[in-house]
Amino acid sequence: MILVNKKMARKVSTWILDGNHAAAQGVKLSRVQVIAAYPITPQSPVTETLSEFVERGELDAQYIAVESEHSALAVCTSASMVGARTFTATSSHGLAYMHEMLHWAAGARLPVVLACVNRAIGAPWNVLNDQQDSISQRDTGWIQIYARNNQEIIDSIIQAYKIAESVYVPVMVCYDGYVLSHTEMPVDVPAQEDVDRFLPPYKPHTILDPANPKNYNLVTLANPRVNAEGVLCHGYMELRYLLQEALQNSRETIIRVGREFGELFGRSYASMFWEDRLDDADIVIVAMGSLAMEAIVAADMLREAGYKVGVLGLRVFRPFPKADVAKALKKSRLVVIFDKNISYGLEGATCSEIKSALYGSSVRAVIRNFIVGLGGRDVKARELVDAVNKSLLSVKEGDLNKEYPEWICDI
């Protein structure tokens, strides 16, 4: 590898890793100090690999064999309060089981990092991939980042700690179960000394010291209350306002960290989403996670047929990059959004959010939403192409919007 910049990482080794092992390597390189992760398909290899690192002495961390996902995140939040760097991983029902704690970690402003290996939620049982699990948690106040491939998994976990510990908001790194978690691909694994340069130690904002006693996250009233020194302190709403403010402002930190990562490791993440041929596209495909790579193949096929198609691969889902999206879709007249999730009773989550980004902008594109890939249903590039063609036909009808999404399935 030719280094153009002395600051850049000196050592690079390329390994063949599946997504779970890439995630585990990211955790190890980030020198995580407390790990509590309950096994669940398809995440289990993550927690197994981490326990192996700890037992072999390769990672100096406290590994807690918790008895549930709720406890996993409870262990992480309290360890984070003390000042330790923490990690947990889960999927599907496990993420749902810790839902209460997701709210808690965000409200407590703790920089926990969680890897969500995206898997469908029952009923009925399904262990295969879709994004309903992490999408269902988008209201909890976590930063959510989606990886398209295994390189992005390891890179995102390392960046997640820098982001989380700068803005004091927990970060969820999501990647598709089986499609990425169990599929091997070449991954450049950074060297420990370079990650150490990139990631400073965690400085907690919480003090747990008998010499200076504080009580964290007590009952908080609706209205502001004066403290013993006469300072008007926040009410519940003001504390929650601060969380929203932190998420809104985190965009700057996410981009800065992504740029710094690029300067050191040669792979830049200085953008809220991945753009493929958007410059001249009037048809844009929107997708998130591994589906965003499939979308690029579909865009190739459509380009061959003469259409100007680009792909907007969503990366940061929370905070949702409204302004960036509106700008990127400026030239579009058709936006086809593929969702591996659905907010039942309405439509795919990314579709609603894209619409929210476009409302009030100058963009007057037709929007079509397709629900795909639920419960591990394979999504072929050909099917994405067909969906775009179908959407093009319907553009003639003139409806900017349809009431409900279409599904690509065998009903």
Binding site: K214, N215, Y216, N227, L232, H234, E238, L239
Partner: protein, 102 residues
Amino acid sequence: MGTRNCQHICGESSPAVGEAGKTGEWRDSFPVIDQEECLPVRQNKPTCFLCWLYCPDAVISKTIPIQINMEYCKGCGICAQVCPAHAITMVNEEEFCPNETD
């Protein structure tokens, strides 16, 4: 005026007396110690102090004579109940007229 002066980003509480206000205002009766019966006073040495031990609100001092912080005493009456010398009586607040002189 808003709460921006408050530097907290999460609910961080600091210790202070009277978190619930002047809890002495809750009571409808208050403890009166008969110093002639109180054992530490009679013997003029540290002894007994069961009222201090059993006070749920830590408003009784381990001094001779015993002192009770009336700003915060909730009037529960436990001290009166546990005193082995029956030196403490609970007196109804209505009967107590601070402006009367003997």
